[in-house]
């Protein structure tokens, strides 16, 4: 994969992420805050972004979303198929709700 491909892939992911995040915030603010793991301030910013700003942000060569859970236990719970799936997801949701959200410094 050459550098140009990577760049356009990143741009695509960024754009998809920003558009999804924005529509989530607009549809159900509180649920979006939980599902995206962001603070109210970040939700406000996302809500106010214009299409032009979204495009500009997406066009950078850095990925805008990052791994949210650095916790090995949580990653195990979300990827483990041995257990009853529903119960594993409940456990993961309980743990995820206890984690702090991303905020603007």
């Amino acid at each position: 994969m050459n550098a140009m491909d990577t760049y356009s892939d990143i741009k695509e992911v960024n754009l998809a992420y920003l558009m999804l995040a924005q529509s989530m915030v607009r549809a159900d603010r509180e649920a979006a805050i939980f599902r995206l793991g962001i603070s109210e301030e970040v939700a406000d910013i996302l809500d106010r972004l214009t299409p032009g700003q979204v495009l500009k942000m997406a066009g950078s060569d850095m990925l805008l979303c990052s791994f949210r859970f650095n916790d090995s236990l949580l990653l195990n719970l979300l990827s483990n198929h041995e257990r009853d799936r529903g119960v594993g997801h409940i456990h993961a949701a309980i743990l995820a709700a206890g984690k702090p959200v991303e905020a603007v410094a």
Binding site: E30, F34, G86, I94, G98
Partner: protein, 177 residues
């Protein structure tokens, strides 16, 4: 107090309809809206097409301690505490939002709704009255519902150490076959 404002009454009716649809009992409606009992009764019959269940509300904190209810109660409280901390929601709105998130999660997992809205609402009141508390599991670090004043040191949750027969219901067996 009967309220005189038509706008306030309209708001209360809308709220009551939402609560009834989520499965609230009449006592919850009486406590949270200013509508009269007769009006609530009529509203309930109109929305649900049947008379509201009679009798007292569940009043025991023990219900929240057995394995399955505890998991469901803890999941609801996880959402409740998250929204309490990270959003401006409060009071009944907060309960409704947390309950909707709980319902969605349960539905996606294909499980039965164990915790009713009335139970969730009662549980929040138990927390306010210091009858229940959250304990941190020493293995996963998640917070779970326990009796107030129970020792929390070395607490291990029901998900890290599942009891041998947990979740082995007739229904689960039927699905597995």
């Amino acid at each position: 107090m009967r309220n005189k404002s038509v706008i306030l009454e309209a708001r209360d009716i809308r709220l009551a309809i939402e609560l009834i649809e989520l499965g609230a009992r009449l006592q919850l409606l009486e406590a949270e809206t200013k509508l009269s009992r007769e009006r609530l009764l009529k509203l309930y019959k109109e929305v649900k097409g049947e008379s509201p269940p009679k009798g007292m509300l569940p009043f025991s904190t023990d219900w929240f301690m057995t394995w399955q209810p505890n998991i469901h109660a803890s999941l609801f409280m996880a959402y409740f505490k998250f929204f309490e901390k990270n959003t401006k929601l409060k009071g009944l709105e907060l309960i409704i939002k947390a309950y909707r998130m709980y319902l969605e999660q349960i539905k996606r997992g294909g499980m039965d709704t164990v915790l009713s809205l009335t139970r969730a609402w009662t549980m929040v009141r138990f927390f306010e009255a210091n009858m229940l508390q959250m304990a941190t599991c020493k293995e996963c670090g998640g917070e779970f519902v326990t009796h107030a004043f129970d020792p929390t040191k070395g607490y291990v949750c029901g998900l890290c150490h599942m009891p041998a027969r947990a979740g082995k219901t007739r229904k689960a067996a039927a699905i597995a076959v």
